[in-house]
């Protein structure tokens, strides 16, 4: 229940407080979101597999987001920022799809 409630509270907070992201951080937000989605799906699959640990989830989420942002940052500095973001999105996207497929199999046996 904690994750669902947390998600909803977070969405409501974001909608009503409308915090402004500093301009320098804006390019990293979409990548951070994709990394967060990857962490979420991975966590849900681990939960279904029965070996979910919230410590691993917290650590993997933070490190995923930071590493994704760092890759994009380095890419921006050397002039291939958009290509590297594409790479990050592709890799994380594959993982998200694979995890989603596993979750679907586990939930619906289909």
């Amino acid at each position: 229940m904690i994750p669902l409630i947390g998600l909803i509270v977070g969405i409501l907070l974001g909608l009503f407080l409308e915090p402004t992201i500093p301009l320098a951080l804006q390019p990293y937000l979409p990548i951070a979101i994709v990394a967060a989605m990857d962490a979420l799906f991975g966590a849900f699959r681990a939960y279904l597999d029965g070996n979910f640990t919230d410590r691993v989830f917290v650590v993997s989420f933070i490190s995923n987001v930071l590493i994704a942002a760092a890759i994009v940052y380095v890419g921006d500095q050397i002039g291939v920022g958009s290509q590297l973001s594409t790479g990050v999105v592709v890799v994380l996207g594959i993982r998200i799809f694979t995890n989603a497929a596993a979750i679907r199999r586990a939930l619906f046996h289909a």
């Binding site: 967060a36 979910f52 691993v56």
Partner: protein, 258 residues
């Protein structure tokens, strides 16, 4: 492929299995977990809100630019009208200043003869009206649209056929007129045209049509009309009036001492 295979084979963080195997058991750190969940939710919301917020700004900038273009074009129209009025005034004043002697009337007749040719005054007479437009289907394909080059070819054909004065969508062509593409539009005299394009040419009504069809422009346009299915209509006109080109100004060339 190895990389992709590995990603597909190991989509879940292997730490989950490691920690499980170490037997730490489910630790309960609800606070950190909840905070991360809140952060993720907030990130979604903030990103969505920001994207939606910047969209109207972009649209607003676009409308603003369009309205500025419109205003500039209206201003240009106004200035052109003024230029035409001033040109009329110049003609009147010149006629007054030249007086009545022989040189004056010779000069005046020279001016009268040259003005219509260079496009400095409005002219009327019989001629051809050519209406062209983009092909009806697949107008998104660049080749099916009328390009600046196509209009140039058409106009050159009309000159070749013996036209004495030509106007496109009411813009009189002179030796200083450019027909060129700017973005998606074709400009004549730096004014963008709207479709369809009406090309009017004054010339000998008996030969203009036939000679135009045989000219390189006529041949090229026949092909465009047949292969690209562009609209292409030629009609003879008993009488039409072409306005003067208000842009007839020499900025650098001066009359040589005679």
């Amino acid at each position: 492929m190895d990389l992709l295979n590995q990603i597909i084979r190991q989509p879940v963080d292997p730490d989950y299995a490691l920690v499980k195997a170490r037997g730490d058991g489910p630790t309960r750190r609800g606070i950190a977990f909840a905070v991360v969940a809140i952060v993720i939710g907030a990130m979604f919301a903030v990103a969505a809100v920001q994207t939606n917020r910047s969209a109207p700004v972009l649209a607003g900038e676009r409308t603003e630019l369009i309205s500025r273009i419109k205003a500039a074009e209206t201003e240009q129209d106004r200035l052109r009208e003024r230029a035409t009025a001033l040109a009329d005034e110049i003609a009147t004043l010149r006629a007054g200043a030249l007086g009545d002697d022989d040189t004056a009337s010779a000069l005046q007749s020279q001016i009268n003869a040259l003005d219509p040719i260079v496009g400095n005054v409005a002219v009327k007479g019989p001629g051809l009206l050519v209406v062209v437009d983009d092909a009806p289907t697949g107008a998104d394909q660049r080749q099916d649209r009328v390009l600046d080059m196509d209009l140039q070819v058409l106009v050159n054909g009309l000159w070749q056929a013996g036209s004495e004065a030509i106007a496109i969508n009411g813009h009189r062509l002179s030796t200083l007129t450019a027909i060129r593409g700017a973005g998606d539009a074709i400009t004549v005299d730096y004014r963008s045209l709207t479709r369809p394009y009406r090309v009017e040419a004054i010339g000998d009504p008996r030969t203009l049509h036939a000679r135009y069809v045989e000219s390189s422009g006529g041949i090229a346009w026949n092909e465009l009309a047949q292969n690209r299915r562009m609209r292409y209509e030629i009609s003879s006109m008993e009488e039409m009036t072409l306005e003067a080109d208000p842009g007839m100004v020499l900025r650098y060339a001066k009359r040589a001492k005679s």
